[in-house]
């Protein structure tokens, strides 16, 4: 069970690292849209990783010795809790891109100036456009 705990700890720490990326990105990036990139993605993955780590801890916490001796009732509650935590992760995976998208669209349609770099104007397949409100 120590392996599960170590895996869980690694996942939680990885989640924190990704969240560090999101936090730094939110502060450092030049305009609203790129900040949204950092926030939207770092947020989703770090949340999912940390919740997965917590699931690992929950499963490791089950008194396996008693379960092996036939006392399966002890298994019910941790399993249900783990499924609920996974449900939160799934929920975040659905809702977080949606709110990212809704915020992006609101900013785009209301004409927040994007920070477009002049350095590379090789508009390959991309046809750049300034938002026309």
């Amino acid at each position: 069970m120590i392996i599960l705990q170590i895996t869980g700890a690694i996942l939680v720490i990885l989640g924190l690292v990704f969240f560090l990326g999101a936090a730094v990105g939110v502060v450092r990036f030049p305009d609203f849209y790129s900040r949204m990139h950092a926030a939207g993605k770092g947020d989703t993955l770090s949340t999912i990783l940390m919740l997965l780590g917590i699931v690992c801890f929950l499963i490791a916490d089950v008194p396996w010795a008693a379960v092996i001796h036939g006392d399966f009732s002890l298994l019910v509650e941790p399993i249900l809790t783990s499924i609920k935590v996974l449900m939160i992760a799934l929920l975040i995976m659905v809702t977080s891109p949606t709110s990212t998208h809704a915020l992006m669209q609101a900013g785009y349609d209301s004409g927040i100036k994007p920070h477009l770099s002049e350095a590379d104007d090789d508009s390959t397949p991309s046809d750049e456009e300034t938002p026309t409100p």
Partner: protein, 165 residues
Amino acid sequence: MYRVLVFLILMLTWMILSGHFDAFHLIMGAVCSGIVTWLSSDLLFEDRSLSLRTRLRQLARIASYFVWLLGQVVLANIYTLKLALSPGGLDEVAPRVVTFRTHLKSDFAKYLLAQSITLTPGTVTVKIVGDEFHIHAISKVAADGLDGSMEGWIKHIFEPEASAR
């Protein structure tokens, strides 16, 4: 038909949430699932002409797609992390708006594509107008990443006959 399916899914969710399996709570769960089915079963499963077999096949393909997507999400985050933390990373930040047309037909397929684009490297769906996707990409590398492999995956999920040809 689909109502029964929705009811069963909701009942399963109820049992996971509840954790009490005595008769009183199960009956209450059936009543509550019934209420929710009655109120909002029309929200789930838009296209009801498909048979359950097709649905199950789609579900299996969506599951394998999810695994691939999760890998892409990790890559997305490593990319953002690199941009955010490396001192020269900001030079690479060159946001742009890309538009492209999709060949996907159903709304759910477009939805899945839009959400996947939002989750993966440096791109966010800003809006969908009809068939046209407006994508905001954070850098040139990210914009070049939109090569249509993701659309191929999703086309394979929902329209397997079309993509086989």
